[in-house]
Symmetry: C2
Subunit: 234 residues, 2 copies
Amino acid sequence: MVKYKEIAHAITQYIEDNDLKQHDKLPVIDALAEQFKASKSTIIKALDILEAKGQIYQVQGSGIFVRELRLDGFVNLNRPNGLSQSLHKGDLINKVIEVSIIKPTNELIEQLACEANEDIYLVKRTRYTANGPIAYEISYYRKKLIKYMDKEIASGSIFRYLREHYNIDPGFSNAYFKILPLDAEATRYLEETPGAYGMKLINQFFLPNGTIFDYSITWYQKDRSHFFVPSTFY
Amino acid sequence: MVKYKEIAHAITQYIEDNDLKQHDKLPVIDALAEQFKASKSTIIKALDILEAKGQIYQVQGSGIFVRELRLDGFVNLNRPNGLSQSLHKGDLINKVIEVSIIKPTNELIEQLACEANEDIYLVKRTRYTANGPIAYEISYYRKKLIKYMDKEIASGSIFRYLREHYNIDPGFSNAYFKILPLDAEATRYLEETPGAYGMKLINQFFLPNGTIFDYSITWYQKDRSHFFVPSTFY
């Protein structure tokens, strides 16, 4: 990762560790440069990135201020690093339903942009907060890129596993969603009544070079899920 | 607006005008510098911003590629410049229900961070695509910042009006949403059946200095609305 992205990441971490809230002021650029052992120009670049990503705002002549990053109980769709990053720590328990290897359907070949005879890891899990199941997730990973997966791994943060074991560093993602009646499986796993509505969210996760490595469908239970999207103009 | 943000905006415009699609390649930095009459370092800065905002991705040694910006019929929640910017041009008609001046309720005082005796513009409108009403929107603007509003103005893009008449250049926004049964008004204006679910989206719009100038509640009709959120990791 290039230096200014590393620093941007470190500043985000600093905001979280210090539990800074919306409109809280960050140290001045000189102080940040000293604290993060980086040049002023690297700090400025990192701050511009964080501004574009909706994590801070900069007011000329006044300072650098924090924006709302993580809201208790809200899923931040602009921070796609897994639900466990988005909700508060310790709030989320995964119940793994299935981990298996399959051949892709035509839909999957298109969504993963993969070969017809490739092995694909299928992972199904239900994700629980203290209030009950919030999400039922069906994920597909290209085995070509993720060599090994099992139920134990899937019970934790899969993205952390990918980073630590395969040095896989996701680049970007597209999320698409719509309000729909839950299908039969989602109704069961989300402990809903037949015909209940929910949100169906489809995610494509890309490596930095544009290759898709993960495609997932997540059904959210309507009463337990709240969503948040911070954005920036220009 | 600073130069690199202007260039970032111009590159976005270029992508849209040329109808570039996901994975399409942009010209090299030298060519962009010539085309947009900017220094290479300004171009690099603009590209970093666009990458952080999820509009392009850069692959070392390979080039700069376009990401999905606007998807036919999808509301891009990461481009909050009004629904008219997000859906395809010409797709959206506004029917203005009410424009009036009110005093803020306690909820509004909190949401707009305004004074108790301030005048607030209340704008209610239904937004139609070719398939029927997609959204019912209730917006509140501080009259202190937006001096004049009427039904004719509200039938167009209010954000364009603010930019052209008051030089108001929004800085950032927070969107919060949840799946809920529509309230009575939303049911009527969205031509839904009683008890129907929809999405309730709350937006706070900030000036670049962190002042809130607009607070709005938008109810989306479930069958006609699809949403899109492109994001970036790190």
